[in-house]
C-alpha cells in the first residue's frame, strides 16, 4: 500500500512539474508560436520567407476579384490548412483529444474563418460594420443558439488555445523596448482599475449577503482576467462548484455585451485607436473577447472619419493593458485570497495548503512566450535601419507573422460564438448579477477616465 501511495504522490508531482510542458495549452501555444517565429527567421536568414504559406486575403471590390484571388492562391491556403492542422493536431492530441475528432472539426473552423477573413477584406466592409471579429462572433452566436453546433465540431473549438497562440505571435510585432516603455503605465492603470473593480464587486456582494468565496470569485472574474481569473481564485479559495459556474456565466454575459458596446462607444466618441485599445484592455473581461473588440476597432482606422492612429495600435494597447497589466497578476490574486480565505473566512471542513509557489503554478505561461517572441524579433531586427526594416524585414518576416496571428485570432472569434450557448448557463440569481454589474459599471467608467483623460497622451502616442 505504501508503494502505491508513494507512486501516486510522485505521479501528482510529475503532473504539476515537467508534464505541464506538454499537458497545458499555454506551453503548446509557446511551442507553436515561437516555433513559427524561429522558422520564419531561419528562412529569412537563408534568403527565403515564410510568406508563401502565411497567405492572407487582400482588399477586393467585387466578388469576382475575391474568387480570382482565392483561385490563384488555393495551394497556399491548402498548405496553410495543413500547417495549422498538424500543429494544433499534435497539441490537442497531447491534451487528450483524438486526432480523428479534432481534424474534421478544425477543417470546419478553418473553412468558415477563410470566408470571414475574405469578407473582412471587402472594401465596403467597414461601411456596413462588417468587421471580421464581430461578424465571426455574431455568426457563431447565432448558429450555436439557434440551430446548434454538432458535437463532432466541439474538439476544434479551442478559444483559449487559439488566442494564446495568437498572442505569442503578436509578441513578434511588438518591440521589447515598447513593452518596457509602456508596461509600467499599463500595470499602473490596470492595477488601479483592478483593485477598485474587485473592491466594488466584493463589497456589494458581501453587503447583499453572498458567500465571501463567491464574492471573491466574482470580483476576480470582473477585475483581473474573466473566466481564467474566476476559476483560478475559485480553486484557490475552495469555492462551491455552483459559485464557479455563476461567475463564469456572468463573465461571459458581460464580456459578450462589451465586445460590441466598447468599440461602438469608442467609435461614437472618435477615440484614437491607441486610446480605445487601452480602454478596452482595461474594461473587457477576457483576452479573447477584448481582442475581438480591439481588432474590430483597429479596423475603423483609415476607414471611419475622425478615428486616428494605426490599426495595430488598438491591438497593441489592448495587449499591453490586458496581458501585462492584468493577466500576469492572476497568481498573486489567487495566493493572497487563499491566505485570507484560510485565515479569515468561515471554515469549510477542507484544509488548504497555501504556498507562494501557487503564484508560479497559476501564472499564465503563454505571457512568457509573448515576451520571448518580442525579444527574438527585436534581436533579429538589430542592424536594420528603418528603410531596410520596411523593405526587407516587414514584408518577409513581420507581415507574414501578423497574417498567421490574424488567422489564429479569427479561429478564436468564431470559436467564442460557437461555444457560447446561453441555454447551458446556470441561473445566476439577482444578487450575484447586481454585484457583478456594479463592478462592470465602475470598471467601464474608470477605464474610460484613465484612458481618455489621465493617460490620454501616453496612449495616443502609442498609436502614432
Amino acid at each position: 500500500m505504501a508503494e502505491v501511495i508513494e507512486s501516486r504522490g510522485q505521479a501528482l508531482q510529475r503532473e504539476s512539474g515537467w508534464r505541464e510542458l506538454i499537458g497545458k495549452e499555454d506551453w503548446w501555444a509557446i511551442w507553436i508560436g515561437l516555433g513559427l517565429i524561429v522558422v520564419a527567421i531561419g528562412l529569412l536568414a537563408g534568403g527565403g520567407s515564410i510568406k508563401w504559406v502565411a497567405v492572407a486575403p487582400t482588399k477586393w471590390t467585387h466578388v469576382s476579384e475575391a474568387v480570382a484571388q482565392f483561385s490563384a492562391h488555393a495551394p497556399q491556403y491548402l498548405a496553410l490548412l495543413v500547417l495549422w492542422a498538424v500543429l494544433f493536431g499534435i497539441a490537442t492530441s497531447a491534451l487528450g483529444y483524438k486526432l480523428s475528432r479534432f481534424l474534421p472539426a478544425f477543417v470546419l473552423v478553418y473553412g468558415v474563418s477563410l470566408v470571414l477573413y475574405f469578407l473582412g477584406q471587402w472594401d465596403q466592409a467597414s461601411h456596413y460594420n462588417l468587421e471580421p471579429p464581430l461578424v465571426a462572433l455574431a455568426l457563431g452566436l447565432l448558429v450555436s443558439n439557434t440551430v446548434g453546433v454538432p458535437t463532432w465540431a466541439d474538439a476544434g473549438l479551442r478559444v483559449e488555445f487559439y488566442i494564446k497562440t495568437g498572442i505569442v505571435l503578436l509578441g513578434a510585432g511588438l518591440p521589447l523596448t515598447l513593452i518596457a516603455w509602456a508596461g509600467p503605465v499599463a500595470v499602473l492603470q490596470a492595477g488601479i482599475v483592478s483593485l477598485v473593480t474587485f473592491g466594488v464587486i466584493y463589497f456589494v456582494a458581501v453587503k447583499l449577503g453572498l458567500d465571501r468565496r463567491l464574492a471573491a470569485t466574482l470580483g476576480t472574474g470582473g477585475a483581473v482576467c474573466g473566466v481564467s481569473g474566476a476559476i483560478a481564485v475559485a480553486g484557490a479559495v475552495g469555492a462551491k462548484k455552483e459559485h464557479a459556474s455563476i461567475a463564469i456565466a456572468l463573465v461571459i454575459f458581460w464580456a459578450i455585451v462589451t465586445i460590441f458596446l466598447l468599440p461602438l462607444s469608442a467609435r461614437g466618441l472618435s477615440l484614437p485607436t491607441g486610446v480605445a485599445g487601452a480602454w478596452i484592455g482595461t474594461s473587457e473581461f477576457a483576452d479573447a473577447a477584448g481582442l475581438a473588440a480591439a481588432q474590430a476597432y483597429g479596423g475603423y482606422a483609415g476607414h471611419v472619419p475622425g478615428i486616428t492612429g494605426t490599426p495595430e495600435a488598438a491591438v497593441n494597447a489592448f495587449t499591453l493593458m490586458k496581458v501585462i497589466g492584468r493577466d500576469v497578476w492572476i497568481g498573486v490574486w489567487a495566493f493572497v485570497l487563499a491566505i485570507i480565505a484560510t485565515t479569515r473566512w468561515e471554515r469549510t471542513g477542507i484544509q488548504s495548503k497555501v504556498s507562494p509557489v501557487e503564484i508560479w503554478r497559476r501564472f499564465p505561461k503563454f505571457v512568457i512566450g509573448f515576451l520571448i517572441a518580442s525579444a527574438i524579433v527585436t534581436i533579429a531586427s538589430r542592424g536594420y535601419n528603418y528603410a531596410d526594416y520596411k523593405k526587407v524585414l516587414q514584408p518577409a518576416l513581420v507581415a507574414p507573422l501578423q497574417a498567421l496571428r490574424t488567422w489564429a485570432f479569427t479561429f478564436t472569434f468564431l470559436s467564442i460564438g460557437l461555444t457560447t450557448r446561453f441555454r447551458e448557463f446556470v441561473t445566476v440569481g439577482a444578487k450575484p448579477f447586481y454585484a457583478f454589474t456594479a463592478g462592470v459599471v465602475v470598471n467601464i467608467i474608470l477605464g474610460y477616465i484613465l484612458s481618455t483623460q489621465v493617460f490620454v497622451d501616453f496612449w495616443t502616442r502609442l498609436g502614432q
Partner: protein, 91 residues
Amino acid sequence: MNPLVRRPLGNSPAPPGPPDLLCGNCRHFCREPREIEAQLPGMRSLGSVYGSVRASDGICRRHDRYLAASCSCASHELEPRVPGGDIPVCA
C-alpha cells in the same frame, strides 16, 4: 519569507494532511479536464480547463466544491489504482 505572509500561513486553521493524502489522490476528486468542462457550463467559451491558471484544481464530488489538488479533508478516500494509469481519474 515576508512576515506578513508567514504570519497568516502560520495561523492556518489546520495543517494540510499528509503529503499523499491530498485531494488530488482522493476518489471524490475529479480532475479530468473534459469532465470539469462538462460540469462548469461556459468554461470552454472564454476560459479553458487546459490553461496554466487552473493548475491542478478539480471538483470535489463529496463537498461539491472546486478546489486545489493540494487540499485535504477528513473524508479522504484513496482512489483505487487504475490499471495502466498512474494518475487518479474521475469515478
